[in-house]
């Protein structure tokens, strides 16, 4: 399998985290979003929606949408519970991530970290929704180690990708101790070095 992706994209990193967790070999074909490489005719032939990541299977078939890809890869694995209701609760988080978290937390990061905007230059409505998404995560983790089905799952992987980078979008996790502890738990499961500024203090 080959992943067409950009390493600046949490949506792409989700797929890598999932593959690593399941021991699936994944070759990476770098696609540079900032250079417009998701808009070339070759790339649009792979995914007419013009978005990374795209998974290319060994038989030549393709699959887009990060959360559809990780769901496919995790079929029958420890990352997706067997019971239909538990699976549905995992997917509930995956849809919430794409609708209520990524467009705010990740897009603010893109504006600041890659387009050079200041924190003050962010769109106020987008910041407010990003803050609300992080508050929702903090509340959801009250009394729970993992987001869904009582165990580490795709729900955690999907939400981790941009939440651990939220500081790059001007969001402060210092007042969200449950989110910070959950990030550390997820990073530990995935063997990731801690994100540098998730405590609200730049550590390096």
């Amino acid at each position: 399998m080959k992943l067409y992706g950009d390493r600046i994209s949490g949506n792409c990193l989700k797929v890598q985290y999932t593959a690593d967790c399941l021991g699936l070999p994944l070759a990476w074909e770098d696609v540079d979003i900032l250079k417009g490489e998701t808009r070339t005719p070759d790339f649009l032939a792979l995914n007419p929606a013009g978005q990374v990541p795209v998974l290319l299977l060994d038989d030549g078939r393709t699959l887009a949408q990060s959360n559809a890809i990780i769901d496919y890869l995790a079929t029958g694995s420890v990352l997706l519970p067997d019971a239909p209701y538990d699976q549905a609760r995992v997917r509930e988080w995956l849809y919430w991530e794409q609708y209520s978290h990524e467009p705010y937390v990740a897009v603010c990061r893109f504006h600041m970290h890659y387009q050079g905007k200041s924190a003050a230059g962010r769109e106020p409505w987008r910041v407010a929704r990003g803050e609300a998404a992080l508050d929702h995560l903090e509340a959801a983790l009250n009394g729970r180690d993992w987001l869904a089905a009582g165990r580490f799952s795709l729900a955690d992987i999907a939400l981790l990708a941009y939440t651990r980078l939220a500081h790059e979008g001007g969001f402060d996790l210092a007042p969200r101790p449950r989110v910070r502890a959950w990030i550390r738990r997820c990073e530990d499961r995935l063997g990731l070095a801690p994100a540098p500024a998730q405590n609200g203090n730049r550590m390096s």
Copy 2:
């Protein structure tokens, strides 16, 4: 099963369409978004994310996110193919709908149809992305009757809900004949009366 929903919401109607198609009885508990009924303490106890639809199962468990709900209801049915890759392609459309279609096509409709904005008062960036989403659908339907897996599926139901109401958000389907024909096919499958203005001309 009971659905907490608002009949103005395509996200809620998707669930009704799916239940009708599968012959599943579904009681409806009306929640009025415009009156703030998704923000009351009682509703937030059902869904802390404060969004409709919410499915309440007979055993008291709940499930939110329209596309997670229809995926759950359609498990093992004709609306979701058996093969994991085909299922993944259906879900690819479901995620695309929530990320690249609904926030533009449905939100423009909400602003015009429920908040009284004029077509000219819509946000230009949102209109552009809505137009792009409808163009993407038109291209995807080139040579195909259905969006995924060569058959009528959840992908069609999820995309139908707001696409058939796109005119209420100021979008014109007249230059998109494949989308119009697909809407008619879907409506025929679901036994729905044709949406009144999907041809760009108000018919009643």
